[in-house]
Amino acid sequence: MKPQWLQILLALSQRELHGYAIQRAVLESTDGHMTLWPAMLYRSLEALETEGLIRAVAAPADEPPDERRQYYGLTKAGRKRLAEEAELMARWVSVARRAGDR
């Protein structure tokens, strides 16, 4: 899985977000290392949507309404895929640790 996909899924696992908020969240969680510039972000969102991992959702009631802002949330498949992906990475990490110990 492409790193930016993983980061988007991670960001959306906490709550439903719009594009700018996803960008901020990814920037923060990667300590400022990954900026998802608009075209890359929206192409990734489209790809994730096509894969059925995320879906467009209505804006939460407590946010100011702006019809240009599209909110996204994880689907069930998305949540499952994220868990698998995390599991996979954990395994790699432990393999890498063991390799490093030897």
Binding site: W37, A39, Y42, E46, R68
Partner: protein
């Protein structure tokens, strides 16, 4: 929303058009919103979105747009709704695939780019010059209406005499074909501004109506009026824009100030516009103020503006009518007649042949390079057979493959063109730096759309030329190859080899044409360098002086000045000798008409050649190294009184005026319109006064005492390098008269070189181009023969296994190569004969059929061609047949 934010969003919206339409429709609004958020965030944090931000945004959009468009499988789920999008997508894919394919074979790509670089550099450089000389419109308003006006006098052996003022006035009043006409004459003067030292400046004396003809308006003040442009009119002057900027700092209160020009006061009444510098680079404009009633000679340069719909020929006919009407008052007008020519034809017409030859040469280089690259591509297409086959198998159409291969050609061609264009600009800048001084100021070499269009056209044209045939062949052949296995291999390589042979024959033919042209050009130039100029050019410092004003009124005062000046010079250390002349060799023309005492009167239409008149000081022949064949030098008694006027004539004068031969010394000649007979006391060797590439004209020398000219040129023969004497010369002059400034300072050797510079540059260029052509053609030849040998290794091995001797194999391969060279040379000779007429226009002293050049160049090409064959042929002959057969 902040203003910058909204402007930024508008720009971003445009940028989003790079993305496919569908994507933009679905996501565009959200992306704009995100973009705006990012801008606001940065503005809030006090760092306005700068170049770094925009750079990343633009890159992000382009990068993702390309990825989106070439995304695999996209074609399947989106129907071809918009043709343009899929085109762009697949072109991007083609470019990528081209880059990949080049990366796989970097040598091939580098060779191609190198050849294109050389070819495009030559084309760009030569075209820039050609464009400046012949294509760019003149830098004036409605330039196509402007014509050069002059007079011609074939009977005096003069193509251009300059216009006489009375003729100009008559033309101005009587003609019906010109909307307006004006004239000017270049000069120079010592300029003194309040409280400053004298500087020598170029000035131009113009008729009052010249700016109107050129549609130029002073940027400050006004031009002089018809009332001021009369004999004895007021002293009024305009400054050139450049002089005003550099010397007066562009101050607007310049009009109304007073300057002194060669001892006379002038009121500055205005400043000329920058475009006036395209007429003359003079610093000061003053009214001509010539007198219709006086005889002032032919000396004006005229510019006219054609009335709408009038051709130069028609305007000339009309001027001729006016001109001839004047014959009763001015008998000269039966001999002279007006000339009306387009500005370029007049001043640059003689360069057209040379420029065309150079343009032809670079075109030939480009063609040879294309043929070579095409050959390379053909050879390579065999290697790429598999790749193409797979593509065809996967459903690529012929058109698609041709397009992919053409894209590769275009990418290579464009890379070469970029480098070549830059190289060409650099080369042409060196040329332009020198050329500027050789042409009228209205010739400019700035870059323009013509240059870009030409270079782009040459690039794309070349890509198609070298790419199309191989691409078509690959596409056609590989499809069939795939269907029929490798059984057709032999025949397809056969057809490929035929194409390559045709290319090589064409290359050899083109190279021969260019080599012959270059051989003739270089031979001609070398011959020019060997022409004896008739004087010694080395160790001569030259400059001009123009002693004017009251101090130098009258012949006696000026004579005293000159003898004093020359004495001072001769006393300087390091000075061998010094002399002054009205005009030194390569220093300008001053023509007089002469009659011989006792000669039968001339018939009205009998030619009476104009004679170059040189007024020289004592010591002139010694200083210049001009030999005297007979008689004596001038001495101090010559020209003191009426009976003692003398003249020294040159060989050409003797031939023209004393065709019967006999002793010329002691005979007398007389200038037209003069009563004084001059006795011939000596005969001097001919001097190539107008340059070694120009025809000899008859000439005479008179001592300064007989006819003192105002402006003189000084020649100082030095023991060491001439320029080292300049400081002491300046010091001597300052001591003599601090208000006099020497001008046109240089060395004779430099003048001599400058006069030949254009020819030297042209000879160099064509030599370089033809060398490139030779190398390319020979490389192409070698490549094809070598390729042929490689392809035929099995065949040759079988032959050898069956008993064919090594010598036989060698001769067979050589025979094939020699046949190609011979065919190319045959075609080349025919083409060269057809091109000879163009080349003959450029040559001065060499016949275009010069057998030495033709035979020498042909032999050279043949020898090199045979050598290029020898290597592959030897390789074939030294094959180990059994090993080669096993290896296959």
């Amino acid at each position: 929303m902040s203003e910058s934010g909204s402007r930024g969003v508008r720009v971003y919206r445009v940028l989003l058009h790079l993305l496919p339409r569908r994507f933009r429709r679905d996501r565009g609004a959200a992306m704009e919103r995100l973009f705006l958020d990012m801008v606001r965030e940065r503005t809030r944090e006090g760092r306005s979105p700068g170049i770094g931000f925009w750079g990343r945004v633009v890159w992000d959009t382009i990068d993702q747009a390309v990825r989106e468009r070439v995304r695999p499988g996209r074609a399947a789920d989106t129907p071809r709704s918009s043709r343009g999008e899929t085109m762009i997508g697949s072109v991007a894919a083609d470019v990528r695939s081209a880059a990949r394919s080049m990366a796989r074979q970097p040598m091939y790509a580098m060779l191609t780019v190198l050849m294109m670089t050389l070819a495009i550099a030559g084309n760009a450089a030569v075209f820039r010059i050609f464009n400046g000389l012949f294509l760019r419109p003149l830098p004036f308003e409605d330039p196509e209406e402007l014509v050069d006006l002059d007079e011609t006098a074939p009977q005096w052996n003069l193509t251009y005499t300059g216009i006489a003022y009375p003729d100009l006035v008559a033309w101005r009043e009587g003609n019906r074909g010109l909307e307006g006409l004006g004239a000017y004459s270049a000069g120079s003067a010592d300029l003194v501004r309040a409280g400053e030292r004298a500087v020598h400046v170029e000035l131009v004396r113009a008729t009052y109506d010249l700016p109107a003809v050129l549609r130029l308006e002073p940027v400050l003040g006004r031009f002089f009026t018809a009332e001021e442009d009369i004999p004895g009119g007021p002293g009024v002057a305009l400054l050139s824009w450049g002089f005003w900027q550099d010397q007066e700092g562009g101050r607007s209160d310049v009009p109304g100030t007073t300057i002194r020009l060669s001892g006379r006061s002038y009121e500055v009444i205005g400043v000329m516009p920058p475009a006036a510098a395209f007429v003359t680079d003079a610093s000061v404009w003053v009214p001509l103020q010539d007198d219709v009633a006086a005889f002032t000679g032919w000396y004006l340069t005229g510019i006219g503006r054609l009335s709408p719909g009038v051709t130069p020929a028609a305007a000339r006919e009309d001027l001729l009518r006016v001109h001839r009407n004047l014959v009763e008052k001015r008998s000269f007008n039966a001999i002279t007649s007006p000339v009306v020519s387009r500005m370029r034809d007049r001043y640059l017409g003689s360069l057209r042949a040379g420029s065309s030859v150079l343009l032809g040469s670079v075109a030939i280089v480009l063609l040879i390079a294309c043929a070579n690259i095409a050959g390379l591509m053909l050879a390579r297409s065999l290697v790429r057979g598999r790749e193409m086959g797979i593509r065809v198998a996967m459903g690529a159409t012929t058109g698609r493959i041709v397009r992919q291969l053409l894209t590769e050609s275009l990418v290579l061609s464009a890379a070469g063109a970029l480098l070549g264009g830059l190289l060409g600009l650099w080369v042409s800048s060196i040329l332009v730096g020198h050329l500027r001084q050789q042409f009228p100021p209205w010739v400019t070499f700035d870059l323009d759309w013509r240059f870009l269009l030409f270079t782009a056209g040459a690039t794309v044209g070349a890509a198609f030329l070298f790419g199309l045939a191989p691409a078509l062949q690959s596409a056609r052949v590989e499809a069939s190859q795939l269907l029929q296995g490798t059984s057709t291999r032999a025949s397809t390589t056969g057809s490929r080899r035929r194409t390559m042979r045709v290319l090589v024959v064409a290359e050899v033919a083109l190279a021969l044409v260019l080599l012959i042209a270059a051989g003739l050009g270089v031979h001609d130039f070398r011959r020019l360098l060997r022409v004896d100029p008739g004087f010694r050019t080395g160790n001569l410092l030259t400059y001009s002086l123009s002693p004017e004003g009251e101090r130098y009124d009258g012949n006696d005062r000026r004579l005293a000045f000159w003898s004093d000046h020359l004495e001072r010079l001769r006393a300087l250390p390091g000075v061998v000798s010094a002399a002054a002349a009205s005009t030194l060799p390569l220093g300008g023309h001053w023509g007089w008409l002469f009659t011989v005492e006792g000669a039968p009167p001339r018939a009205p239409d009998e030619p009476n050649p104009i004679v170059l008149n040189r007024v020289v000081s004592t010591g002139y022949f010694e200083t210049m190294g001009v030999e005297r064949i007979a008689g004596r030098d001038f001495d101090d008694r010559d020209g003191r009184d009426e009976g003692s006027h003398v003249v020294i004539v040159d060989e050409t004068f003797r031939r023209h005026f004393f065709p019967e031969g006999g002793d010329v010394l002691g005979r007398r000649i007389k200038a037209a319109g003069d009563s004084m007979w001059m006795t011939i006391v000596g005969i001097a060797r001919d001097v190539r006064h107008y340059g070694v590439d120009q025809e000899l004209q008859p000439g005479v020398y008179q001592p300064v005492r007989q006819f003192m000219s105002r402006r003189m040129q000084v020649a100082v023969r030095t023991a060491g390098p001439p320029m080292t004497a300049l400081e002491s010369v300046r010091a001597a002059l300052r001591e003599q008269d601090p208000e006099l400034a020497p001008f046109e300072i240089g060395t004779m050797a430099q003048r001599y070189d400058d006069a030949l510079w254009t020819r030297r540059a042209a000879a160099w260029l064509i030599a370089v181009f033809s060398s490139i052509a030779l190398v390319l053609a020979v490389a192409g030849l070698y490549g094809v023969i070598s390729y042929g040998v490689t392809q035929r290794i099995p065949e040759i091995s079988i032959r050898m296994a069956l008993g064919a001797g090594r010598g036989r194999v060698l001769w067979r391969i050589m025979g094939e190569g020699v046949f190609l060279v011979g065919s190319g040379m045959g075609l080349g000779l025919i083409a060269a004969m057809l091109a000879a007429r163009l080349v003959s226009g450029v040559l001065v002293g060499t016949s275009v059929t010069d057998p030495l050049t033709w035979i020498g160049v042909t032999a050279l090409l043949f020898a090199v061609g045979v050598l290029a064959n020898l290597l592959p042929a030897r390789r074939a002959a030294s094959l180990q047949p059994m090993r080669a057969l096993k290896g296959d």
